[in-house]
């Protein structure tokens, strides 16, 4: 019995295998394979339009994969929507709550769907979020609406909490509420959080695992610590000035001019020192880059573009 439980614990809660999705000519997801283990905070990052929302919609069963397979808690969300959705809590990016409902009516409506609804917890959240039960949703501010949506997604203690860009456009206090909710969820045994965001400093603090999406492809999917440790920002000093940025394997975004060039490089320090020596340079400075810098380097433009001369001359 306990081994079955352990196997269940060890299995990933969300699995996407070779999922592709095309909208017209745009390829939103391109052969995406992802495994979300149980009990972690999984952060999904990417620029706008990278495919984060599309991926989350596949997990919820709102989109059918054109190729590949999606498995959530061991079931197919398209074939068994009730089994999956009754154990998943969802807070979407768009303002989807019915505006005409009062907060109390919204709570009462949602309560009818979930057998695991915890009334005391819902009351506690109602008070700590300072929501007026008699207020209509359309009269609430954006932050209050986010809190209301969060309340009804948390109150039944779902096994997976899915948040699609929950902090977009919200004030810092609401963002703290959301992060607090994420952490409280994860503190409870066996529950998982899957959220997408482009507030990378938040993802850095809170996520155990990270997956980086770019143009529908999974560029990186790894544990947060391992991911951050594998990158290093080095400054190389060459013997002779270079006109163009040097070429290194696994290097991202060169910046600099003349003899000194800086880049974020993937690899261990001693390995980098050897490669630098081979290219006729030495490492003069190195530091651990932040997630933000790695992200910009990974998916931003290849080389920092300089402003055209004519524009600068006019100033």
């Amino acid at each position: 019995m306990s081994s079955a439980l352990e196997t269940a614990r060890a299995e990933p809660v969300v699995v996407l295998e070779g999922v592709s999705r095309q909208f017209g000519r745009v390829k939103a997801l391109d052969d995406v394979t992802l495994r979300v283990p149980r009990g972690v905070v999984f952060g999904l990052v990417g620029v706008n339009g990278a495919g984060k929302t599309t991926l989350l919609k596949h997990v919820l069963g709102l989109l059918k994969p054109q190729t590949g397979r999606v498995t959530v808690l061991g079931r197919d969300p398209v074939a068994d929507p009730v089994g999956v959705l009754s154990r998943v809590g969802y807070l979407g990016e768009e303002n989807d709550l019915p505006g005409w409902m009062r907060v109390a009516e919204l709570i009462r409506y949602m309560q009818g769907f979930y057998s695991t609804w915890d009334e005391k917890y819902a009351d506690h959240l109602l008070r700590s979020f300072e929501l007026d039960p008699a207020a209509k949703v359309k009269h609430l501010s954006k932050g209050q609406r986010a809190r209301a949506g969060l309340l009804v997604a948390l109150a039944y203690r779902p096994e997976i909490l899915i948040l699609d860009d929950p902090s977009s456009g919200l004030d810092p206090i609401v963002r703290r509420d959301i992060l607090g909710a994420i952490i409280r969820t994860i503190s409870e045994e066996g529950r998982t959080v899957l959220f997408s965001s482009h507030l990378l400093h938040e993802v850095e603090r809170v996520a155990d695992h990270i997956a980086l999406l770019d143009k529908g492809r999974v560029v990186v999917a790894d544990e947060m610590d391992r991911f951050k440790r594998s990158f290093c920002e080095v400054t190389l000093q060459f013997e002779h000035p270079l006109a163009a940025p040097p070429c290194f394997v696994d290097s991202l975004r060169w910046q600099g001019s003349g003899r000194e060039w800086t880049a974020i490089v993937r690899g261990q320090l001693d390995d980098l020192a050897r490669r630098a020596a081979a290219a006729g340079a030495r490492i003069v400075a190195q530091r651990a880059p932040t997630l933000d810098e790695i992200f910009v380097a990974q998916v931003g433009p290849r080389v920092a573009q300089a402003e055209p001369e004519s524009v600068a001359a006019e100033e």
Binding site: V84, E94, L97, F113, Y114
Partner: protein
């Protein structure tokens, strides 16, 4: 000024350019047809019948010129699209131009129809008055839609009242002017024509003024609230914090659908009653006029659903929104339960409206002392066959009306539930497409009376074929439902048995009540199969599934 022209060109021409093209082709084809066929009474009737769905076309035009009829008809707020308030135009320009362009377009359309289609076939329809009347109606509909009102649900009956006025007015005018040889009414009408035309022509400018006033309120963000003194006292009690939780997901969903769509039909009926009572009393004072019986109120119910039927067929969480709400798509509820909630709400809505109508009709019958008239009708039927059959027939009619209304509401659901806009446009497209073959067939019959007999004789086997096709389709739909595990085996049985019972019951009733030489058994069976809905209701859960998992 060129902003306004640009606005009109974009909203009325560019957005609907394919519809304009289709309408143009339509007109050309009809014009050709009307020149080909002779100007005889039969053909004229057909040509007139072609324009019987004109009120629907008018409603569509009103929707276009109201700058998109998206938005809640029953809400207090104005239906003018708020995003246009940030354009660099005065409020006057925002309202006057659409109204005037709309009026001009409607008048122009009527003039084109009259000169190209109706007059060549010999119908001497007036050139200006109907066009002006339609333009006035559209202008007032626009003004009504754009004005914020102080009471929720007020706009709905006012619109219905206006629609009633238009229908009544046009029907009366058509009846009077179609009298040949011209009677007294016609002469009177002709003499009044210039005055009437002037009054009608003045309507759009007045509507402009009203609309400008209303839209300026809306642009400021003000919404009048005539019951504000009541509002915030009672509201905390409505906070529903103390209400008991729902017993099941089905109960919760029923509550949601009821709040969204369930109240429109009873409200519309409630507002319709005074209008109907007034008209009926007027008719009763005129001897010999047809609409005397208060029981006509009951017949109004199916007619009223023609407009509100489209509302139910949506997976939306807000009134007036057509977009599928992911809020609903993410509920852990099976598709069949979504559909069941809608069916129940439709039934409750129709039931409530019908009970109200029946109570008021009964009161009116007693008040106007027309119980004897109705009893005489029943007596005539009883003499023809037997008292029991007469009573049964009356009961069937009385109970059949709400059931018919329910089926009308529910049959069209699947088109909207699919969530694709092109599906909702199918009825309109089908209507337009069916127009030409039916016109052609009608004219073909008129050319030679023998062909009409042929067609009539062919109608019965055709109906039987349709019934057989329907049964086959129903079987396919059932199989699809079972294959997709949308319904379980016991549920399938629970669906098929009542359907079969309804068909057999209806068959028995028809056979018993109708004389056998008029309605042989196979015709009765065909009628029973065609009337009881199966295919379109069965498609609804499949449509929900198609919508939910794209």
């Amino acid at each position: 000024m060129h902003c306004a022209i640009h606005l009109c060109r974009w909203h009325f021409w560019h957005r609907f350019r394919w519809w304009h093209v289709a309408a143009g082709i339509d007109l050309v084809v009809l014009a050709v047809l009307c020149r080909v066929f002779p100007a005889e009474p039969g053909y004229q009737v057909v040509a007139l019948l072609l324009f019987a769905p004109l009120p629907l076309g008018l409603a569509a035009l009103a929707g276009v010129f109201t700058l998109g009829a998206g938005g809640d008809l029953a809400a207090r707020e104005s239906m003018y699209p708020a995003r246009m308030f940030t354009l660099p135009m005065r409020t006057r320009d925002l309202t006057v131009w659409p109204i005037l362009v709309g009026a001009a377009a409607v008048v122009g359309a009527w003039v084109a129809i009259a000169t190209l289609v109706l007059r060549p076939i010999g119908l001497a329809v007036p050139l200006w008055t109907p066009g002006l009347a339609m333009a006035a109606s559209v202008a007032w509909l626009q003004a009504l839609a754009w004005c914020p009102l102080g009471l929720p649900w007020l706009r709905l009956p006012v619109v219905i009242g206006l629609a009633y006025v238009i229908l009544f007015g046009s029907a009366a005018t058509a009846a009077v002017s179609a009298q040949t040889p011209p009677g007294e009414g016609y002469v009177f009408w002709k003499s009044m024509a210039p005055i009437v035309a002037l009054v009608l022509a003045l309507q759009p400018p007045v509507a402009c003024a009203v609309a400008t006033y209303g839209v300026s309120w809306a642009r400021r963000g003000d919404t009048p609230s005539w019951l504000s003194f009541l509002a915030d006292r009672g509201a905390p009690a409505l906070g529903a914090v103390t209400r008991r939780p729902f017993r099941s997901p089905a109960a919760a969903q029923f509550w949601l659908e009821w709040r969204l769509y369930g109240r429109s039909l009873p409200y519309a009926m409630a507002w319709m009653i005074p209008v109907f009572a007034g008209v009926m009393l007027v008719h009763r004072s005129v001897p010999g006029s047809p609409c005397r019986s208060p029981l006509l109120l009951l017949v109004l119910l199916p007619l009223m659903t023609l407009g509100s039927g489209a509302e139910l067929g949506r997976l939306a969480a807000q009134r007036g929104s057509r977009a599928t709400a992911s809020f609903l798509a993410v509920r852990p509820m099976r598709e069949i339960e979504f559909v069941r909630a809608k069916l129940l709400v439709a039934a409750a809505s129709v039931g409530m409206a019908y009970l109200l109508a029946a109570a008021v009709a009964a009161m009116l019958v007693l008040a106007t002392g027309s119980l004897a008239e109705h009893a005489a009708i029943w007596q005539a039927m009883a003499d023809r066959s037997s008292p029991i059959k007469a009573t049964a027939a009356c009961l069937l009619a009385l109970l059949g009306l709400p059931v018919l209304t329910w089926t009308m509401l529910v049959k069209a659901m699947f088109l909207g539930l699919g969530g694709r806009t092109w599906m909702s446009a199918i009825p309109a497209a089908a209507l337009v497409l069916l127009m030409f073959p039916s016109v052609w067939i009608a004219w073909w019959c008129l050319a030679d009376p023998g062909r009409a007999q042929l067609l009539w004789a062919a109608a019965v086997p055709l109906a039987e074929l349709l019934a057989a096709v329907k049964l086959v389709l129903a079987g396919l739909v059932l199989r699809a439902l079972r294959r997709g595990a949308v319904i379980s085996r016991p549920t399938a049985v629970k669906l098929v048995v009542p359907w079969a019972a309804a068909v057999l019951g209806l068959l028995a009733a028809i056979l018993w009540l109708a004389p056998p030489e008029l309605v042989p058994w196979h015709v009765a069976l065909t009628i029973a199969v065609l009337v009881v809905p199966a295919v379109r209701i069965g498609l609804a859960p499949l449509a929900v599934r198609w919508n939910r998992h794209r």
